[in-house]
């Protein structure tokens, strides 16, 4: 089969690989129709995540058609069109039965601090991902769901990670009516977090980034106020000014490991890999939120330490909330929001790229060319 393969930092190609096979009775093999490149895939692409091996196939956002099922699979059959959450989870461990699907303890031998994620290094379990023609989907009775007839395939694709993660980020903020919410990052997750903040009753939603075209999207798609941090000497001071020097009630970090805005932090983390991530957005969040406020983190960071301003967080009495999103838990409510017209997920898709040109897709997304917000990889016919 044809599959994207990692060849080292900043290098990927498409090559022939063996088709995945059933390795556990509850496995399914899914033929991928469309996949997406996630902002967090760029952390792998840039060589930031430990134990990212040459030869691995990335891709934790994909949908497809069931090709084969294992002997114990009861809920799916060959030919079903399925959407697959980025989390791999067993449904029965201590964490899964409490709804913490992203923290499953039965799927990742390589680390106890994170569950299983498709195509996200061995730190997340060593599973090949869905930027390929076929993918092995463990726990087929637990993770995948048949795509409803009314759901557009690109909406289904956005539901595998970006939309639920943004929506989850807003929930982690514990927003109450009239709250001022600041979102750092106007990528797909930040856009969805901003949009979702209104659903939770925010009174103001402010989005911060350095890419003007993404801020324009935040204004049109998420009805947000926007700030380009490069236009201000100190974005934290601007956030204080715009909130009457109180600070925001809730701040969401939707940037993660490769945040820009401080050259030293960025280089030590993203280039030299001496930190788990560049915590610029997180530190700005800690300083921009009001005392007693909440910082929600849905940006992805590596497992190594990062230089976080923890003293300010303690002194301000902040609540810090974070997790990888338990995707499937969000789906029923998000289906309602899409059917009601409150959310239009595929509005953020900007590029559709054939699998054979995936190296170009990574470069366009990484270099932020051509107003790229969300690239979709077209793998095979539905």
């Amino acid at each position: 089969m044809r599959a994207m393969v990692y060849r080292g930092p900043y290098k990927v190609r498409v090559e022939e690989k063996d088709r995945p096979r059933i390795e556990h009775p509850n496995d399914a093999i899914v033929r991928v129709t469309v996949a997406a490149i996630c902002g967090s895939d760029l952390h792998l692409y840039h060589g930031m995540m430990p134990d990212t091996r040459v030869g691995m196939t990335f891709g934790h956002e994909f949908i497809g058609v069931v090709e084969e099922v294992g002997s114990s699979v009861q809920n799916l059959k060959r030919g079903d069109r399925v959407m697959v959450p980025f989390n791999i989870f067993c449904g029965s461990c201590y964490f899964c039965v409490r709804g913490l699907y992203s923290n499953c303890h039965n799927v990742n031998p390589n680390a106890t601090a994170v569950g299983g994620i498709y195509g996200y290094s061995h730190t997340s379990g060593g599973y090949d991902g869905g930027q390929s023609e076929y993918v092995r989907v463990p726990f087929a009775d637990v993770g995948p769901t048949i795509i409803p007839e009314w759901l557009h395939q690109e909406d289904a694709l956005m539901l595998t990670d970006a939309l639920p993660t943004g929506y989850f980020g807003a929930q982690l903020g514990d927003i109450v009516e009239g709250d001022t919410v600041v979102v750092f990052g106007a990528g797909p997750v930040g856009l969805f977090a901003a949009k979702s903040s209104w659903l939770m009753g925010a009174g103001r939603v402010i989005v911060i980034d350095h890419l003007e075209y993404r801020l324009a999207k935040a204004r049109s798609f998420a009805q947000a106020e926007t700030y380009n941090f490069t236009e201000y000497k100190d974005i934290v001071v601007e956030m204080k000014k715009t909130t009457g020097f109180l600070g925001a009630d809730v701040v969401i970090d939707a940037v993660g490991a490769e945040a820009d805005g401080n050259l030293l932090q960025h280089i030590t983390a993203a280039k030299l890999k001496l930190q788990g991530g560049s915590p610029i957005a997180l530190n700005w969040a800690i300083d921009s939120v009001r005392k007693g406020g909440t910082v929600s983190v849905v940006g992805a960071y590596g497992p190594l330490f990062s230089a976080v301003k923890f003293g300010d967080a303690m002194n301000k009495g902040l609540t810090l909330r974070m997790n990888q999103c338990p995707v499937k838990r969000q789906w029923p409510r998000l289906f309602e929001h899409i059917q009601n017209g409150y959310l239009k997920p595929n509005d953020i898709v900007t590029h559709r790229i054939p699998l054979e040109q995936i190296a170009e897709g990574y470069h366009i997304f990484s270099a932020k060319l051509d107003d790229c917000i969300k690239p979709v990889i077209v793998v095979s016919a539905a």
Binding site: R7, L100, L199, G201, E212, T230, E231, L304, R329, A359
Partner: protein
């Protein structure tokens, strides 16, 4: 001002927001939020029909964190460890817990060794690595390379010049290894 009890700036009224923003307040009640409360014990909703999943066969020794009591019932089988980088990975997993920086730094070092070794091995095949096509840099000319950057205040322009060095670094390292090996062999041959 926060120096008095009142919130400094009042937000727009709820009716105003409801009229302007589609769906505003639909999830105002925390009961409508699917991840509230964070932990909700409900073993019947996941679709699992087992107490403990059946064990996936371990067809080769599978490296695992020493913070795990056992091999997890299911695990990924992509890209088993191999060569020098594989030995480094096995050492990192066998020796250090996830709490130790040495664990992660060894794994990152193994990633770099893996990249150099893979480039060397690929040069001996009919499908060698090609830094031009694999970096996707050829897409530049069709995707507004100048207007995407010029005239903007993008913060990443301050450090993007470093990226080519990261890309060619493994090639330079590989060339250095080949040169050292050739020199050593030549000296041995002269003796």
């Amino acid at each position: 001002m926060p120096y008095t009890a009142k919130k400094p700036l009042a937000p727009p009224s709820s009716p105003e927001l409801r009229a302007r923003i589609p769906g505003w307040g639909a999830d105002l009640d925390p009961a409508n939020r699917p991840s509230v409360p964070r932990e909700r014990y409900d073993p019947d909703v996941t679709g699992a029909h087992w107490d403990l999943p059946e064990q996936q066969p371990e067809t080769r020794p599978r490296e695992r964190s020493i913070e795990h009591q056992r091999l997890t019932p299911v695990f990924g089988t992509s890209t088993p460890p191999k060569g020098i980088s594989g030995a480094m990975r096995r050492y990192a997993y066998g020796r250090f817990s996830e709490a130790r920086a040495a664990h992660w730094l060894t794994l990152i070092a193994a990633d770099r060794v893996d990249a150099v070794g893979s480039h060397l091995r690929s040069s001996l095949t009919l499908h060698p690595d090609n830094p031009v096509t694999e970096t996707g840099v050829l897409s530049e000319w069709r995707h507004k390379p100048v207007s995407s950057r010029a005239g903007s205040r993008r913060a990443d322009l301050h450090h993007n010049w470093m990226d080519p060095f990261i890309v060619v670094g493994p090639w330079i390292a590989a060339a250095g290894i080949i040169w050292l090996a050739a020199r050593t062999l030549a000296r041995v041959g002269r003796r």
